[in-house]
């Protein structure tokens, strides 16, 4: 037991132990989990791609954004929103509870792992949930709308990379929010942070369509959700105008690193005094 040798077997076992714990808790809350990740895309698709088309002329979205099929624009956007919401629900909310009220994370931060690994496990498990949440949107978009929306994935590698990175970005965002926001104000986060970044996150319209409002088109580049939406757009509905893949991946890496770093700093600050 040399102090300097990071016992890699114990490291892996301990990390798996944390994952198993989260898996156990999630498995017990499966219906809650499905409702949490499914409700928003379900209703969104139902209202905008099923009810509205059936209203015929009354539908402002009938022509979609700039003549595009709205359902097709919406599919990657809703996947991005599902990914982000999952990250917040899986990391930010439990962390804020566990740090602020019950301190029940104590036993996990006292396991024989470096603290960054404990935070990384939280983010990884959240990423897993984000991926499930995003994938669930694909069948919904096929079955709910009046005209089925098909995912048109040609580049599976790009799809996998974007999905994983967007999910880690969502987890990092969750870590940042959960460890820096005062637990009593966590509810506020939804109105002052989550709602704006969703509506200005190129979820309901492709980034390219903002061309007529340059100030907005450049303004939203600070919003990490933009790259999640655009990345999924590039991978899932490539026929719709989207940012170049290299720009998307660079931005996803940048924001994941930035939020991950700030989140870890907050996490360490909460655990250590």
């Amino acid at each position: 037991m040399e102090p300097n040798s990071l016992n890699s077997k114990l490291f892996v076992q301990s990390f798996i132990g944390l994952l198993l714990r989260d898996l156990r808790v999630l498995s017990r809350e499966m219906p809650v989990f499905l409702a949490r990740v499914g409700m928003q895309p379900l209703l969104f698709l139902f209202v905008f791609t099923f009810i509205m088309p059936h209203m015929g002329g009354a539908n402002p979205m009938a022509g979609g954004a700039g003549g595009l099929d709205f359902g097709t624009v919406l599919l990657p956007g809703l996947m991005a929103v599902a990914t982000m919401f999952s990250g917040i629900a899986a990391v930010a909310l439990p962390l804020s509870q566990e740090f602020g009220v019950t301190r029940e994370i104590d036993d996990r931060v006292m396991c024989p792992l470096p603290l960054w690994a404990v935070a990384f496990e939280k983010v990884s498990f959240s990423a897993l949930q984000s991926m499930i949440a995003a994938l669930l949107v694909i069948p919904m978009a096929y079955y709910i709308p009046a005209t089925p929306v098909r995912a048109d994935i040609h580049n599976w590698f790009l799809f996998a990379v974007v999905l994983v990175m967007a999910s880690y970005l969502a987890g990092a965002l969750g870590l940042f929010i959960g460890s820096t926001v005062n637990p009593r104000q966590i509810g506020l986060v939804f109105s002052i942070l989550v709602v704006p970044i969703t509506f200005l996150g190129c979820v309901y319209y492709p980034w390219a369509m903002l061309g007529h409002m340059k100030w907005l088109q450049y303004g939203v580049l600070f919003n990490p959700i933009v790259y999640m939406s655009e990345g999924l757009r590039a991978a899932v509905t490539p026929n719709i105008a989207h940012m170049p893949w290299w720009a998307i991946l660079t931005a996803l890496v940048f924001f994941t690193a930035l939020l991950g770093r700030l989140g870890l700093k907050g996490f360490l600050g909460r655990v250590l005094s």
């Binding site: 102090p3 300097n4 114990l10 198993l20 714990r21 019950t102 029940e104 036993d107 250590l272 005094s273």
Partner: protein, 313 residues
């Protein structure tokens, strides 16, 4: 030495500069139960927080089995078990799962973790409650689960922070039994408390702390014989005027080792009660004696001797 604490200092800098630890030195022997006794704010919890890798000291070191806890926290955590002051059981898991997953965090295999959890449930008389969630447990039971969880990975040192705070007397006794039972397992225990009785009953040795310093250290019996073979008389008086002659008179007595003026009377530290008590009553009557309390020689009187104040003040 299993635990070596050297010149440990912790200062909290905020609006108020608080010196929580003012360079304390402690050494724990293998297998002993060591008590840190002192009032709130003495630095007991800070000492435990640093030793359990949750607080970083300003200076000084804590070594557990030779491992520096500040330099190698993840490694040190393998050697320690912690029972925190508050219930930190995982509310999303049952009692059994709290133990089981704790074992998994420490690298136990499924079957090993399962066997160890069942064994602990039995040892701590919790088998019937294995499927219960922590929110459904009473304070005493939750504390027992926390102790079971803390020793599940067979740590070398167990840290108990105010283990009986908030427990009813019966649960406190059960907890004492549980801690005393750990002796058989050879675990070294460091516990903090501000209950004299608890420190006296459980510890092999103890350190009395106040204002971030260790004031005295030794076996409870030794501390009592060194500092506290004294009886403390607290007198409440109606009138505080003209006490001078009475104090002078008392100080001349051989069986009085100290007289102090308190907020509402006098504190007399004596070496025996036999002759002194009637004399005190007689002398104090003219000052309107309202109340008289006698504290027999105990860790409490040791504390009063060392700090000039009551633990409860």
């Amino acid at each position: 030495m299993i635990v070596e604490i050297e010149k440990l200092t912790k200062i909290y800098e905020s609006k108020l500069r608080v010196v929580a630890l003012d360079g304390i030195d402690l050494e724990l022997n293998e297998g002993e139960i060591f008590g840190l006794l002192g009032p709130n704010g003495a630095g007991k919890t800070t000492t435990i927080s640093i030793a359990t890798t949750r607080t970083l000291p300003n200076s000084g070191t804590v070594r557990i089995k030779g491992i520096d806890v500040v330099k190698h926290p993840a490694h040190a955590r393998r050697l320690i078990g912690v029972v925190p002051q508050f219930n930190t059981l995982d509310r999303s898991l049952t009692v059994y799962e709290n133990l089981y997953f704790h074992c998994r965090y420490f690298g136990f295999s499924h079957s090993h973790a399962k066997a160890r959890s069942l064994e602990l449930l039995e040892q701590f008389l919790l088998s019937e409650r294995k499927s219960v969630y922590p929110t459904q447990l009473s304070g005493g039971l939750a504390q027992r689960v926390q102790i079971a969880r803390a020793i599940a990975h067979r740590p070398t040192v167990l840290f108990l922070d105010e283990p009986s705070a908030g427990l009813d007397p019966q649960s406190r006794m059960a907890m004492w039994d549980a801690v005393a039972g750990l002796r058989k397992e050879g675990i070294t225990v460091l516990l903090t408390t501000h209950y004299m009785e608890e420190a006296d009953k459980l510890s092999d040795r103890l350190a009395i702390m106040d204002y971030g310093k260790v004031l005295a250290l030794g076996a409870p019996e030794k501390l009592k014989s060194t500092f506290g073979a004294h009886t403390v008389f607290n007198l409440k008086l109606k009138s505080m005027e003209g006490l001078g002659p009475m104090i002078e008179g008392l100080k001349r007595r051989e069986d009085v080792s100290g007289v102090e003026i308190t907020a509402d009377g006098l504190r007399v530290i004596g070496t025996g009660a036999d002759g002194l008590l009637p004399e005190l009553v007689r002398a104090a009557t003219s000052h309107g004696l309202r109340d008289l309390t006698i504290t027999e020689p105990s860790l409490e009187t040791v504390f009063i001797q060392l700090t000039g104040r009551d633990l409860r003040e």
